[in-house]
């Protein structure tokens, strides 16, 4: 990704090495504005980062996991209603699929 497109919260995909080979930043580092300013000052042009900013992926995951956990509890008043039961199962399926998808997308 080009340096100008970097944003806070993105995650380094590989170790960042100096021209002499020592590690400047380890992979998995969450970038902040100071880092990005440094890259610009160093004159770097491109850098490998994961596509999803980490905080967004985390909040996605957190939200869905929480929703899955509390799903039954939320529908507890409508146990016998067939239309509500159908809605519930449909949503559960969606959440499971989505969770799987998020995890696949960010695995390197």
């Amino acid at each position: 990704m080009r340096i100008v497109d970097l944003r806070e919260g993105m995650v380094l995909k590989k170790d960042l090495n100096s021209p002499f080979g020592d590690v400047l930043l380890k992979k998995g580092t969450v970038l902040n504005n100071t880092h990005i300013q440094f890259f610009k000052n160093w004159g770097l042009k491109e850098l490998d980062v994961t596509f999803l900013p980490r905080n967004r992926k985390d909040s996605m995951e957190r939200q869905i996991v929480m929703a899955l956990k509390t799903l039954d509890q939320k529908f507890i008043n409508y146990k016998t209603d067939p239309s509500m039961a159908q809605i519930k199962e449909e949503l559960r399926q969606f959440m499971l699929n989505y969770l799987e998808e998020i995890n696949k997308e960010t695995k390197y």
């Binding site: 967004r56 869905i64 008043n77 449909e90 969606f94």
Partner: protein, 292 residues
């Protein structure tokens, strides 16, 4: 019988409002903007001049417009530029949302979490707008603002009736009561009626005050059926995905008629849910730009 009941609840709203010495007032700039926009020959310059009379408002608009929620590449530094890019209606909504937000400076307490409250409002608004957009409704922005304001009655209770709020929260948390039943028991009216009164006082357009008044009732025989259905769906999804709610909150019954509106969207269910969910995630950025 029915009429009696209505009168009764109306009286109770009145008497509740009687305890409140001073209701918050919306800044007059909103009414002015509304008036100016009704004039079909209005220019962007007129509006931006009007907004520029309130420096705090200008700052807030620019902050929201430059937030990650809209994700523009370049920094937007003037109101005129913001209006040109976003359109008048969107700007009007930002103004309305931020004014309502400011009208109730409530401190956090055990029984009222300001951040959670607004998170619920904004996430359901974003979900409602997503549904409205998928339905290709032309007033999706109205649906958005209705979603933000639908629970305004709760704010009023939190701000002006703290003792009642304590009782209500006790009933809800300790006894597991539904919040509407608890409100009915303590105040005699629920937050939708209180919100409606507030909306009328502030001269909100009828579509907004009606949605606020009826957002817990059946959509049947309602003139803004589609809009209300969107708001209800937004409310539902926000609760379902735990945005701005305690985990043990239960969802309300979903009428088949409201749910059926999703069937009219020409897309698979999975895609619909996904769109709604990602929209709701964006809402937190909007919220942060309003708060800080």
């Amino acid at each position: 019988m029915n009429d009696n009941l209505k009168l009764n609840s109306g009286d109770k709203v009145e008497s509740l409002f009687g305890c409140i010495n001073e209701l918050p007032s919306l800044s007059p700039i909103i009414l002015k903007i509304e008036n100016v926009m009704n004039n079909q020959y209005v220019s962007v310059e007129d509006i931006s001049n009007l907004i520029s009379t309130d420096q705090a408002l200008v700052a807030k608009i620019l902050r929201v417009v430059n937030s990650g929620f809209y994700g523009f590449k370049h920094k937007i530094s003037t109101v005129t530029h913001a209006i040109t890019i976003m359109g008048l209606n969107a700007i009007k909504n930002i103004v309305l949302a931020s004014e309502v937000f400011d009208a109730f400076p409530i401190k956090n307490s055990v029984v009222f979490d300001r951040y959670l409250f607004w998170e619920h409002c904004l996430s359901s608004a974003c979900a409602a707008r997503a549904v409205a957009k998928m339905l290709k409704m032309n007033n999706a922005e109205v649906v958005f603002i209705a979603g933000i304001l639908h629970d305004i009655g709760k704010l009023l209770i939190a701000k002006y009736l703290p003792n009642q709020l304590n009782e209500i929260s006790f009933l809800v948390i300790a006894k597991g009561m539904d919040i509407i039943d608890a409100e009915l028991e303590v105040c005699g009216v629920d937050h939708s009626k209180i919100g409606e009164k507030m909306a009328r006082k502030w001269f909100f357009p009828p579509v907004l005050s009606d949605i606020i008044a009826l957002h817990h009732e059946s959509i049947e025989n309602f003139r803004f059926k589609k809009e209300l259905a969107c708001v209800k769906l937004g409310d539902f999804f926000s609760k379902l995905f735990c945005f701005g709610h305690r985990e043990e909150d239960k969802i309300r019954f979903m009428e088949p008629e409201v749910w059926g509106i999703l069937d009219t969207i020409p897309d698979t269910r999975n895609n619909i849910y996904r769109k709604i969910f990602t929209e709701m995630l964006n809402s937190s950025e909007f919220l942060n730009s309003l708060i800080y």
